[in-house]
């Protein structure tokens, strides 16, 4: 199941981070089991799974906070366990929450963390403060920041070392819709304009669908599927069609013979007039179904293949378990 079903990229992808068969046990419980994936330069990679699926444990292994029981992490080809310092020079991260020193100002926090990086980080503070729109509040104590501001300061902190890969754990957690949009735009900007590989974990399907290029789905410590977000959506979406026809009720009756079809809600007499019918009909039966509609005297205005949400993808790959 965890095989890549995406067509191989034409050019060899520029892999920045690779997780190879990561496994982590806590006593008898296996928290993460044989998790593998690659994150490439310039892409936003989503790590999707419900709470408790093993996302944070995996991230802790990616950044060296926890040691895998089996498998390894490579960053720019460097083995994280054995070449920790050199590997971590390429990494910026926020694990779990943007926890910074609340009794220090934003600037003091950034100075603090740039002292732990190779020379040059301290000169980037102003530029990064501008990037995350914190210039005006930089000399206020972090305790006075909103969660969104702390999240942005956390991202500025993660970018101090000019990383090749940015690892963000649930960056949308606790943010309002405007805050989520800001983070999403920032993440897309970093990937597109600076070529940074961004790894984003989330339990929100819509978030991953809107932000990420590729996604790995993790459930109960195992990756169930890995591939481009579009491919995953298409896989489930392939038999979904939405037919706009008149009379809609008759159309639904005809289409039901070829698969499943739901009659439109009976509002404002839509059932007898023009309406939309959501149906699941296999691709190869579609021409036949359309001929049947014409024969039954139904006027067809539009036939659209509807895109599935990741919610449906998730239900599909987990075999019906909800997030």
């Amino acid at each position: 199941m965890s095989a890549e079903f995406a067509p191989a990229a034409a050019a060899p992808p520029d892999v920045v981070l690779s997780a190879e068969h990561l496994t982590k046990r806590f006593g008898a419980r296996v928290a993460v089991s044989d998790v593998s994936f690659d994150v490439r330069a310039g892409e936003v990679f989503g790590f999707l799974g419900p709470n408790g699926a093993g996302k944070t444990t995996t991230i802790r292994m990616l950044v060296g906070l926890a040691r895998p029981d089996a498998g390894r992490v490579r960053i720019r080809g460097l083995d994280l366990t054995h070449q920790f310092r050199r590997a971590m020079e390429h990494v910026g991260c926020i694990v779990e929450a943007p926890d910074l020193y609340r009794y220090l100002t934003g600037r003091e926090n950034l100075v603090h963390f740039s002292r732990m990086l190779p020379a040059g980080a301290i000169e980037r503070i102003e530029e990064l403060a501008r990037l995350v729109a914190l210039t005006e509040r930089l000399d206020d104590r972090v305790a006075t920041y909103s969660l969104g501001m702390r999240q942005r300061l956390g991202i500025a902190q993660a970018l101090l070392g000019n990383p090749d890969i940015l690892i963000l754990d649930e960056p949308a957690n606790g943010l309002d819709p405007a805050g989520i949009r800001e983070i999403r735009q920032l993440v897309r900007h970093l990937a597109a304009e600076r070529g940074i590989a961004v790894f984003v974990s989330s339990h929100l399907l819509s978030e991953v669908e809107q932000t990420c290029d590729r996604v790995a789905i993790i459930h109960r410590g195992r990756t169930l599927a890995t591939g481009p977000v579009r491919d995953l959506v298409d896989r489930v979406a392939s038999d979904r069609v939405r037919v706009t026809a008149r009379p809609a009720r008759r159309a639904a009756e005809v289409l039901a013979a070829f698969g499943t079809a739901a009659a439109p809600a009976d509002e404002e007499g839509a059932a007898d007039g023009e309406g939309r019918v959501d149906a699941r009909i296999a691709r190869e039966r579609m021409p036949e179904a359309l001929r049947a509609l014409a024969a039954a005297g139904v006027d067809v205005y539009a036939v659209e293949r509807s895109l599935a949400t990741l919610e449906e993808v998730f239900l599909d790959v987990t075999g019906g378990e909800t997030v």
Binding site: R86, V91, V95, E96, R115, M116
Partner: protein, 326 residues
């Protein structure tokens, strides 16, 4: 990405937290209170008598108690030591209870080394690591391109600096406040030192006279060393327990046990291998009768050093290896 940068970070965190100011306030308030209470008590105690006469009277009182025979054994031991000590002072014409600002500062080293200074060291050390866990900042601290050992070493360096400053500050405040009450002069006054406990009596063989300033530096050096060792042990509890309250509670319990144990169980000799029993290094150096037999400065310093070294080895081993899952 130099080690000095890491130490600078840790100093910044020390300085920006309220703890440091609280410790300064505690020292000032406490020493002020001691000076005030002591100078009040003294006026009544001496009542204008010549110190030779007063000392002889005190010796006579102690001898009476001893003859009386109703004293418990441990107090008898203490009374004999005290008798010897007073006699030596009288013989060499040195007032055993002289007061001056410098003498007060000197006395503060003894008074603070077994409880106050270790307590302040614990206040600093207990959350050096556990606070990073509590705030969640440990996850950022340990995902920088810096090894874990240098991170802990920088914390240790900043802690040692904070402890050093605290001991120095305590001495300076004691001198300033003592000076207000008793005058600032007298650093050159002779001090009898080198009392050694030999069995049930004081051994006068090594007793000699040194100027007060020299004696004071020695006493503070010993207090500083003992406090540093407590700091190292408290750092280990901070690493192991990952909770400031738990780390502080554990160390406080140990300190309190250390002050109670010798009184309740002075015959249990193995307690001399506990670190808390050896904290009053300046006392052992001045020749006060130790709470249990067999304690000397050299032995005490060795025991403390062994505890501190073991604590540091354990703290580094755990800190470097353990998964951060909090």
């Amino acid at each position: 990405m130099s080690f000095s940068g890491l130490v600078e970070n840790e100093i910044l965190k020390f300085a920006k937290q309220r703890r440091f100011r609280v410790v300064v306030l505690i020292l000032v308030a406490l020493i002020g209170l001691i000076v005030f209470a002591q100078s009040r008590g003294r006026e009544r105690f001496r009542a204008g008598k010549d110190w030779h006469v007063e000392t002889q009277e005190r010796m006579a009182r102690i001898q009476n108690w001893l003859r009386d025979g109703r004293m418990p054994a441990s107090s008898q031991r203490w009374a004999r030591f005290e008798l010897d000590r007073l006699r030596y002072h009288l013989d060499r014409n040195i007032d055993p209870d002289a007061v001056s600002g410098p003498l007060f500062a000197r006395g503060f080293a003894n008074a603070s080394s077994y409880l106050l200074l270790p307590l302040l060291a614990i206040v600093f050390a207990s959350d050096v690591v556990s606070a990073e866990f509590a705030q969640g900042t440990i996850k950022l601290l340990l995902t920088r391109p810096v090894g874990r050992a240098p991170v802990l070493a920088s914390k240790l360096a900043a802690l040692a600096l904070a402890i050093t400053l605290t001991v120095l500050f305590g001495g300076v405040v004691a001198y300033v406040f003592g000076g207000i009450a008793y005058g600032y002069g007298g650093w050159g006054a002779p001090v009898l030192t080198g009392f050694r406990v030999a069995g049930e009596r004081l051994d006068p063989a090594a007793v000699r006279t040194i100027p007060l300033w020299q004696d004071t530096i020695l006493a503070y050096g010993l207090a500083w060393f003992a406090t540093l060792c407590v700091g190292a042990i408290a750092l280990l509890t901070s690493v192991l327990l990952r909770s400031t309250a738990a780390a502080m509670g554990t160390m406080l319990a140990a300190l309190i046990a250390g002050t109670i144990l010798p009184r309740l169980a002075s015959t249990w000799e193995a307690q001399r291998f506990l670190f808390v029993t050896n904290l009053p290094l300046p006392d052992y150096y001045s020749g006060s009768p130790p709470p249990i037999t067999g304690l000397t400065v050299g032995f005490g310093a060795a025991v403390l050093a062994a505890w501190a070294a073991a604590a540091l080895v354990a703290a580094f081993a755990v800190f470097v290896r353990r998964d951060v899952l909090a």
